[in-house]
């Protein structure tokens, strides 16, 4: 049986070989520990988030962590039981229209998923209409918009306007993230929060999800 504390530590230490060896052992032993192993990886991601906040890790490490996490899901997926247990909630994440950058978005996605969110990733260059439709179809109230280019701010503004026009704004919370975002941009766009730090995005969305659940 795999030691889950050790797995979480290995993940937090970004020790890829140790993480993968442990996960393969889980599968070799029949996969009964798969859900526990996923929880351990998520705990490791939280360690990574903390070390990022302290400055020990930086963006390159988060990118690498995202790859480890994706790899972990890949190894365990056949044995993972879907559903069961209360997650943090559903949310939309995307890079907005006319922007093709996705690295920051993918880092945030890995961290959000590690914190129990079901992330509907709409990809890059996402039109406002797609976001609105998905909000309606999937009953989603938390939206995270990512962008690196300055023109992403225009797309973010259009997206917020589209959400408002669809009558969904009052029941939604919107966070924007990426290089051009700051307090002024947040106000201009009409979002509720902004973040350049992925951990801040996670914390904000967690607070919102808790408020919605209450």
């Amino acid at each position: 049986m795999v030691d889950m504390e050790k797995l979480a530590t290995s993940m937090g230490d970004l020790e890829e070989d140790d993480v993968n060896a442990a996960l393969r052992q889980v599968m070799d032993e029949g996969g009964s520990q798969a859900t526990e192993a996923m929880d351990a990886c998520q705990k490791g991601m939280n360690i990574i988030g903390e070390r990022f906040e302290s400055g020990e890790y930086f963006v390159g490490d988060l990118i690498y962590a995202g790859e480890l996490m994706t790899g972990a899901v890949d190894i365990l997926k056949d044995a993972l039981v879907s559903g069961g247990g209360a997650g943090a909630g559903k949310m939309i994440l995307c890079t907005v229209k006319d922007d093709l950058h996705d690295i920051g978005k993918n880092i945030v996605k890995a961290m959000l998923e590690a914190n129990g969110f079901e992330v509907i990733d709409l990809g890059i260059d996402t039109p406002a209409e797609t976001i609105v439709e998905t909000m309606k179809e999937q009953d989603v109230h938390i939206v995270a918009l990512s962008g690196v280019l300055t023109l992403a701010l225009d797309s973010m503004k259009s997206t917020v306007a589209a959400i408002t026009a669809a009558g969904l704004r009052d029941s939604a919370k919107i966070i924007i993230g990426g290089a051009p975002t700051n307090e002024e941009a947040c106000q201009m766009v009409g979002a509720d929060a902004w973040a350049q730090n992925p951990q801040k995005t996670v914390n904000t969305c967690r607070d919102w999800a808790a408020a919605f659940a209450a």
Binding site: E56, Y64, L100, M188
Partner: protein, 379 residues
């Protein structure tokens, strides 16, 4: 004032800024790239027509009278890269240049690069760069266009000095080995994971090899000839890859290849300008001992007031937020420029805090207000 006189005045402004000597007015550096295309009433497709590009540059200079230019629409040689596929393409609405992510060197090829980089560049890197169906005629067209683009760029650099009477911000651009990995060979994701997955000794061997073969000769050439007339600095280096590095990683993989350039510039009385993406104050301790007069940093996300306090030995270019130029009033923009000049003081060149590329990055009204103000305001 004729072009020669303007150039002399502007050269003095920039030399003073580097040296922290007092300037009577604020030097103004253009960090405008493709925004000027929209300002002139065109879209990005103008990048295919050198006559139109020259006309746009002429109008831009006539209208705003910058003292120095980073770009004269010479950054994106679309006609040279397109025959081979290229990594850039103009969006369907003509308003943006989309950059396709390419990994041109695999994680397993570091040793092969060290063994024979010429062979790897041709047989693997360039092959991956090209579209799969690229032919010899495509290559011929690309080479032809590349050299014609070079002629256009040379013409514009000369025009900048001799007709606009303005400086070119950099003459020699050179970047560290990690920047090559980050920007070109491995990409952001690849270079990030390589720091953990590739043997550290091999990474450093690659960097030493790259530095010796490619970076150092360029730097030597620049330093031996010094700052040429019409240029604002001796060497310019791009500072982008640091955005993914922790302090430990920076100290190991980046700084050893940047520090010698700065030290040599200091020793010879030359200058190095750093074009910084995102923030760099995390690494302030590395730059604390750089003597005044050597380095200027074009800031992006760092707060210029904080930067001045933290690194009072480093000249600053930047400060004007794109957010304000695009969305504030002319009066708000001018008041902010005044605040920058008054509080930062000497060792300061006003520029924009982003590569100004898109239509809504700036309004003409705001830029005219700022441009007029810097000409008149007595520091």
């Amino acid at each position: 004032m004729d072009a020669k006189q303007k150039l002399a005045e502007r050269t003095e402004l920039f030399n003073n800024a580097y040296a922290f000597k007092h300037n009577k007015r604020i030097p103004h550096l253009s960090n405008f790239f493709t925004w000027q295309i929209f300002d002139a009433g065109y879209d990005m497709n103008a990048l295919y027509d050198y006559d139109i590009m020259e006309k746009i540059d002429d109008e831009f200079n006539e209208r705003y009278q910058f003292d120095c230019y980073i770009d004269l629409l010479t950054r994106n040689p679309m006609r040279a890269t397109q025959p081979l596929g290229g990594t850039h393409r103009i969006s369907d609405n003509g308003e943006a240049i989309e950059v396709m992510d390419h990994v041109l060197m695999e994680q397993t090829e570091y040793q092969a690069f060290i063994d024979d980089s010429d062979a790897l560049y041709w047989s693997k890197v360039f092959k991956r760069y090209c579209k799969p169906e690229a032919t010899l005629d495509d290559l011929t067209e690309s080479v032809q266009e590349f050299f014609e683009f070079g002629e256009f760029a040379t013409k514009m650099v000369s025009k900048c000095m001799n007709e606009y009477g303005a400086l070119n911000y950099y003459s020699v651009m050179t970047i560290t080995p990690f920047e090559h990995l980050f920007n070109y060979l491995r990409g952001i994701k690849g270079s990030s994971s390589d720091l953990r997955r590739v043997d550290e000794g091999l990474m450093l061997e690659f960097m030493d090899y790259f530095n010796d073969k490619y970076t150092k000769p360029n730097i030597k050439m620049a330093l031996d000839r010094g700052t040429l007339p019409g240029f604002a600095s001796t060497i310019t280096t791009g500072f982008l890859g640091h955005t993914v590095l922790s302090t430990k990683q920076f100290e190991k993989f980046y700084w050893p290849y940047l520090k010698p350039t700065i030290d040599e510039c200091a020793k010879r009385g030359e200058t190095v300008s750093i074009m910084c993406e995102a923030t760099m104050l995390r690494f302030a301790e590395f730059f604390e001992d750089v003597p005044k007069g050597v380095m200027m940093v074009l800031l992006e996300q760092d707060d210029p007031f904080e930067f001045r306090k933290r690194l009072p030995n480093v000249a600053i270019a930047g400060g004007m937020p794109a957010m304000m130029l695009g969305h504030s009033t002319p009066e708000e923009c001018v008041n902010y420029v005044k605040k920058l000049a008054d509080e930062i003081g000497d060792g300061f060149v006003l520029s924009q805090n982003k590569m100004m590329s898109f239509k809504n990055d700036c309004t003409r009204e705001n830029l005219l207000a700022v441009s007029d103000f810097v000409q008149e305001y007595q520091c």
